[in-house]
Amino acid sequence: MQDDAALLSISGLRLSYGATEVLKGLDLEARRGEMTFIIGPSGSGKSSLLRCCNRLEEPSAGRILIAGEDITKPGANLNRIRRRIGMVFQSFNLYPHMTAAGNVRLALQKVLKKSRSEADAIAMAQLDRVGLSGHAHQYPAQLSGGQQQRVAIARALALEPAIMLFDEPTSALDPELVGEVLKVMRALKDDGMTMVVVSHEMRFARSAADQVVFIAEGRIVETGPPEQIFENPQVQRTRDFVAQAEH
C-alpha cells in the first residue's frame, strides 16, 4: 500500500465541525516532487482537507503521514511538523504591521531562532526567488494582491518546507494578477517542490498538475492524471463538474 515516493499519505481521514461531518473518509497520496491538484464544488471540504494536513484542524479519525512521519499521532510536536509544511492562503494573510521582509523573517527568528542578519539574508533570497527583492521594505497594504501572495509564498518557502499546500492562491486576485502567482508556482514545481493545490484554475491544472483529485461532499470522487479528469472522466459526477467549471 505505502508508496515509497509518497511524501504525503492520507488514509481514512475524517473531520467534523460539531455534529456535521465534512470529511468522510479520505485516502490520498501526493508523490515527491509532484503537483497534486484538488478540485471540487464550494463547501466540499477542500480547505478543511488542507488544514488537516498541518493540524490547523483536528481530524476525528484517520492518519496523515508526511515523509513517513505520522503527524496525527498523539503527542506529535505540532510546531516542528508545521514548519516543514508550507501553507498559502486565499486571502494571503500577510501580517499587515510588518514589511514584506518582516513577514518572511518572523518565523525564521522566532521558530528557527536564526539571528536577525541570517534571517534577513534568507528573507531577501526568498523574496528574490518570487521576484520581489525590490519590495522587501514595503508593507502589505502598499503591494498589489499578486505581490502580496508572492510574499506569502516566500514566507512559507523560507522555512524550507518538505511540501507546500496552496488553498485557492489566486481566487482573491484580479484576473491580470493571477499569472504572476501561477508562474511562481510553476517555477517551484520545476525546482522539485511537492505541492498540493486547491484551485479553480483548470487550465493551469491541465498543464502543470501530475494528479487531479475531485472531491465532492467530503469524499474523493475520482483521482487521475489531468488528461483523465479533464478529457475523459470515469465518473458522471466528475464529468458534470468539469463541464460546468470549464465554461
Binding site: 498541518n54 510546531n79 501553507m87 494573510n93 500577510l94 518572523l106 522555512l159
Partner: protein, 227 residues
Amino acid sequence: MSRTEVFLDTFFNAAVMRQYLPDIIDGFFVTCQIAILVVVSGLGLGLVLAIVRSFRISAINAPLIVFVDVLRSLPPLVLILILYFGLPNIGVLLSGYIVLWLVLTLVLAAFAEEIFWAGILSVNAGQWQAARSTGMGYLQTLIYVILPQAVRLTIAPLTNRTIAITKNTALGMVIGVGELLNQATTAQSFAGNATPMMMATVAYLILFVPVVYLGRWIETRFAWKHA
C-alpha cells in the same frame, strides 16, 4: 469695583496666584505621578488579563470576568472609600496615595482588559492560521502577530478610557491625597477666592490636553500604516 473687576478679582487674583502657586505646583506633580503610575500599571495589568483570558480556561475566566464586570460597574469613589475607611477595621492600613493608585489601576485594568480582548477577537482568524502554519506557538503568535494588530485597532477607545479614568485622580481629595484638586480646594478656602481653582483648571489642561493629542496622533499614525 466694576463687574469686570469683581470677576477678575475672584477668578484671576494675582496676589492669590503668587501665594498659592507653590501648592498648586506640588499638587500638579502628585497628580502627574499618580496618573503615570495608573496608566502604566492599569494598561499593563489589563493587557496581561486579556492574554490570560485568551487561553480560554474556564476555571480562570469565570472569576476574571466577574472581577472585570464588578470593577466596571462600581463608581471608583465607592471603591476608594471602602478601601480607605473599611480596610483599617481589619487591620490593613493603606495610605490614601496607595488606595488611589490601587483603585484606579484596577478600574483601568478592567476596562483595558475588555478593550484589548475585543481587539484580540477582531483580528482576522487567517492571521492565527498563517502564523501557526509557520510553526509559531500560541504565545508567540499572540505577542508578535495578534497583539500588535489588536492594540492598533483599540487605540481610540483605549485612550478615551485611559483619560477618563486618569482624571479620577481628583478623587484623591476625599481621602487626603495632596493632589492637584486637593491643593486647590484647600487654597481656595484659605484665600476665600476662586483663583486657586482656576489655576488647577489650567494645570489639568496642561496635563491632559497633550494626552488627548498624543492619542489622536498615535491613532492617525497607525491608521495610516495599517491601511
